[in-house]
């Protein structure tokens, strides 16, 4: 009875589905390259284009920094997946052992 009780208690924790974070850097890079390759003949257009280009470069830098900040805020990625699974297993074993210990304490016959 008690063994059956222990397993569902651990397995009953539902695995929440978490959506991956979206980091799009390629479109910005593509934008920059395209606007550089445009290279208009007209001077004013050229100036305008180069101003836009530098804006896009700054934007690229910002998006890279934002990506890094987002990555740092993510939970659960302190370890590699294998290490995390090992820790999960040891945590499960620890819980099972402690539940057995409690059961033993409660059922001890004097």
């Amino acid at each position: 009875m008690d063994v059956v009780d222990i397993k569902p208690q651990i397995a009953n924790i539902p695995e929440p589905k978490i959506q991956p974070v979206e980091i799009e850097i390629l479109p910005v890079v593509y934008d920059i390259i395209r606007s550089v390759e445009k290279d208009p003949i007209d001077n004013t257009a050229k100036q305008k284009e180069s101003a836009e280009c530098s804006q896009k470069v700054l934007e690229l830098q910002r998006s890279l920094d934002a990506a890094r900040a987002t990555i740092r805020k993510l939970h659960g990625i302190e370890y590699s997946k294998e290490e995390q699974l090992r820790r999960l297993e040891s945590l499960r074993k620890q819980l099972a052992l402690k539940q057995q210990l409690i059961k033993k304490y409660k059922n001890v016959q004097f």
Binding site: I18, Y79, S80
Partner: protein, 264 residues
Amino acid sequence: MSSYHLSTRERLLAIVNDIEIVAKELIENTIAPKAQKMSSADHTQLVELLVLKDKELKATLQLAAEQAGIEKKMDALRDQVRKQDEEINQLQKQLKEAEQILATSIFQARQKLASITKANKRPVSSEELIKFAHRISASHAICAPLTWQQGDLRRPYPTDIEMRLGFLGKSDLNINGHNMQHPNSLNEMHRNTSAVAAGSGAGGEIPASAQNQFAWHPSGELHMSMGAGGGSVSLDTRAHKDASQDDVEVMSTESSSSSSSDSQ
């Protein structure tokens, strides 16, 4: 460089750094003058590398999402483990308390058993106990007589006069070997003291030894009757003593009558 030992976070940051480097390289190549531009093959490779890194980034972000889910599971498990820990601590405390109480009880029970065994080795009959209890209480040593008032000379302990009337007082003063005289005066004296005491309890006790009591001789000496044979022995504690034993005179019966202040 193998990335297997790296945490997912480190892998993600490394990929982002790689993407930054490749993108910068591409942009610089684009704005560079024709003479410094790289070959198209290199350019293609660079582009492919960028695309690959982007795909790797996405895959690693997916992995990070999975790990976040696992981490939530682990948090729930840690919560449960913490609760079990608290319960275990509580149980341990209770068991420790119970053990202490039991140990104390066992110790006390053992002591009681030892005293029972010791008592059983030398049993005393209840009749004897009751007899002694009766004797002690009969002499009003436990509770005053019902008619006792303030000023009553009776005491729960043997008074000075009663001690002298007893066996010890009698045997001590018999050393001189004199016979006691005037047993009547002894009884008179005793009646006098009884009258003052106004009690029957003390008087009731004395008759048992009244036959061997001493009496006051008119000369001032104490005389003791010698059993059924009659006669009395004068109890002289002064004259026959040596000069070196002058201190004993202080303890003689003549002066001792005044030493007893408690009889009042």
